[in-house]
């Protein structure tokens, strides 16, 4: 996945041109922008709207409807902790508390050093390994407080 550390790999114009002439291109464009930039800014929404002959409000409405699309910048490492039923019954709340304590933030927030953003999402599809989370799309299962602390430490030391 493209990371902001090295700067986005594609410009907005390049992303848009990939889908030139295709029907239903708005969502793939937004997903690619999200992947390259980590979020969709108001400026970008406006540019996309302009090239696609639609209104920025429409682009924004579509973007804010979906969990994968963000309209706010996020930290280098995106933690997505599962709040699905299989994880809930394995006490994911305890794991949530550990992460919040370790990072000093609550769900939905980004650490002041921009290193981590924490989100809760319903089911990441590894329910046999609950409780589970993903960091930058890498899944981690069978979480315990100790295991979570070790994983976070690795990311603090620069793992991506």
């Amino acid at each position: 996945m493209a990371r902001q550390v090295d700067g986005p790999t594609l410009t907005l114009a390049e992303i848009i041109s990939r889908y030139q002439g295709q029907k239903g291109a708005l969502i793939p464009i937004l997903l690619d922008v999200e992947e390259a930039y980590g979020y969709i800014s108001a400026d970008m929404a406006e540019q996309i709207a302009w090239t696609m002959r639609t209104s920025p409000a429409h682009v924004y409405a579509v973007a804010s409807f979906y969990t994968r699309l963000r309209t706010q910048p996020r930290g280098t490492n995106l933690i997505r902790l599962c709040s699905g039923i299989a994880c809930e019954v394995e006490d994911v709340t305890q794991i949530q508390r550990v992460i919040e304590e370790e990072l000093g933030i609550s769900v939905g927030e980004t650490t002041p050093d921009d290193l981590f953003t924490l989100e809760m999402v319903p089911c990441i599809g590894v329910c046999g390994q609950s409780p589970a989370m993903e960091i930058n799309d890498v899944p981690y299962g069978n979480l315990t407080p100790d295991k979570v602390r070790q994983i976070l430490a690795r990311y603090r030391q620069g793992e991506t």
Binding site: L30, F65, Y66, T67, V89, P122, G128, G141
Partner: protein, 561 residues
């Protein structure tokens, strides 16, 4: 000119045979395997093999369903059976290299079983393991066995023979007739007869016609669709091409949640390989039938798994369901006749073509033919994905397959059917799991999620969990769902905080039933099911919370303070 399938098959078999001349090590590398730590295990195997100077073929495979035993590693020496090992750590991996790759001790004490054959060296067949005993693996026939990145392995196991048969020995109406005969019903949850849907779409006016594959796999707790896409993408594609031929579609879209990057990568690769071999694209296998299939990423919202919402996402709009009729088979994607099928539904199709609808119909029950993949999670000893003929009882699944509750705990309830399903008590465990039986008692089979809850679980809190989910996931278009879910969630939250009031139960029942009648889509119509089913089967727990301000399971906020 029809392409000679036998020749393709023989080449694939030859290539797979060549691999079998080497020592092969298979690492379970589905998303679940990776989550359990398969990456460091793979690295340890590589290091140890390199240090020892032995050449062996390390292969990544998908998930065989035995999630509680992940990371899984299988070893097959030339001329010896394939042996499976569970809960492999990097240390254990090094040990296995020493003992069985360098040495000749297959470590029966550590082995789970022998894959696909008789016992060996005191190791029993894996099929006799309590987790696998009695399973009938149709949909999961290749899962965990083959490398999802190598089409030869799929073909060598008979893959694409059914497509060849359908194209050159059957007319489209004959394919539909066979699927109708099989009694196959949609595996995405609603259970609509697949053959009937295809027939309706084939007969609908308008062209082009579209085929959509539903790989949203959205039900929390029911992760089989993701595992299937990770493990055997070719089987889904073969089923889709046969479906397209039967219906008369030239264009299809494979809808996969963007949150499933591994599935997207593997399906992408599989599409490319299928196209290279002529199973997809123009003039498939030399016939005059052409079909193109393209991935569309789902941007993440539970409701986008609903049939009309899938179409809106592909059209680039907000994924909000619409009122029906018109039905999608008449007017769907871009207002053209459209068939939507779940990935598991399609994986059944090649088998039905190969062995016949009559054979398929002998499996399962009268109204629910075939097998079903279940995701067995929660408070059981053995968690994972299993496949059984429809009609297996809840008790068999939970006790025989899952090994029952954890030591020192007892069974309380089983939640089935995903967030729109319900909770059932111990007295109902002998009910068969099929499309209809659980509906009679206020739950449903749905996509096959089975979440076991033990005595430390609070049923009011469980209902609240699901209602909060529906509040978050309601698309907001119809007020019954938007406001109804929120009201139910508020009442449930109050009750779990010790602020329940007389009349709450009745208010929730009235509201829940109303939502079932007037909501726009399946989400709103079933969002109250978790409340209604727990009120029906665990009413005393609600009463204890409301009247005695007490949580019998000791799990609610009020029991902590």
């Amino acid at each position: 000119m029809p392409v000679d399938y036998q020749a393709i098959r023989e080449q694939a078999v030859a290539r797979v045979r060549e691999k079998e001349q080497e020592i092969r090590i298979f690492v379970g590398f589905g998303t679940c395997g990776i989550a359990a730590g398969a990456r460091p295990v793979l690295a340890a195997l590589q290091d140890n093999l390199r240090q020892a100077g032995v050449s062996a073929r390390l292969q990544t495979v998908g998930c065989n369903g035995m999630c509680y035993q992940e990371p899984l590693v299988d070893i097959a020496k030339p001329g010896r059976p394939r042996i499976s090992y569970g809960q492999v750590t990097p240390q254990l991996a090094a040990q296995l290299v020493d003992d069985y790759i360098l040495g000749d001790n297959p470590r029966p004490d550590l082995a789970l079983g022998v894959v696909g054959g008789d016992g060996y060296a005191g190791i029993p067949p894996l099929s006799e393991h309590p987790f696998f005993r009695g399973q009938v693996r149709l949909v999961m026939r290749n899962c965990g066995l083959i490398d999802p990145g190598d089409i030869d392995e799929y073909i060598a196991r008979g893959g694409y023979a059914s497509l060849h048969k359908a194209l050159f020995e059957m007319t489209p109406p004959e394919v539909i007739a066979e699927v109708r005969k099989s009694g196959l019903r949609g595996r995405g949850g609603a259970g609509y007869p697949t053959g009937l849907k295809w027939e309706g779409c084939r007969g609908a006016h308008g062209s082009p016609k579209y085929l959509l594959i539903n790989g949203e796999g959205g039900d929390p707790g029911a992760y089989m669709d993701r595992a299937l896409m990770d493990s055997d993408p070719q089987a889904i594609i073969e089923g889709a091409v046969i479906a397209a031929y039967a219906i008369g579609c030239e264009q299809g879209y494979f809808f996969i949640r963007a949150e499933y990057p591994l599935a997207i990568e593997r399906v992408q690769r599989a599409l490319q390989q299928a196209e290279e071999r002529g199973f997809l694209g123009d003039n498939i296998l030399g016939s005059d039938f052409s079909f193109h299939l393209e991935i569309k990423r789902g941007p993440g919202a539970y409701v986008t798994g609903e049939s009309t919402a899938v179409q809106f996402v592909i059209e680039g709009r907000q994924g909000t369901p619409r009122w029906r009729p018109p039905h999608s088979i008449i007017s769907g994607l871009w207002a053209k006749p459209t068939t939507l099928n779940n990935v598991k539904t399609l994986v059944n199709v090649p088998l039905i073509i190969e062995r016949g609808g009559e054979w398929y119909a002998t499996i399962g029950t009268e109204k629910s033919r075939g097998t079903k993949v279940f995701a067995l999670v929660g408070h059981v000893q053995r968690r994972g994905l299993v496949e059984f003929p429809l009609g297996i009882t809840l008790r068999q699944l939970i006790n025989d397959v899952g090994g029952g509750p954890l030591p020192g705990r007892s069974f309380k309830a089983v939640q089935t059917g995903g967030p729109l399903g319900g909770c059932l008590p111990a007295a109902m465990l002998d009910l068969p799991v099929d499309f209809d039986s659980l509906k009679g008692v206020g739950s449903m089979m749905g996509s096959g999620g089975i979440v076991v809850l033990d005595d430390k679980s609070c049923m009011v809190k469980t209902a609240r969990h699901f209602l909060n989910f529906s509040v978050d996931e309601s698309c907001g278009r119809c007020s019954a769902c938007r406001i109804g879910s929120r009201r139910l969630s508020e009442i449930l939250t109050r009750i779990t905080q010790g602020r329940g009031q007389p009349g709450d139960i009745e208010a929730m029942e009235t509201l829940g039933k109303l939502m079932g009648k007037v909501a726009l889509c399946g989400l709103g119509r079933a969002a109250a099911t978790p409340v209604l089913s727990t009120l029906r089967h665990f009413r005393d727990e609600y009463e204890a919370h409301i009247h005695e301000k007490r949580c019998p399971a000791g799990a609610c906020e009020m029991s902590i303070s």
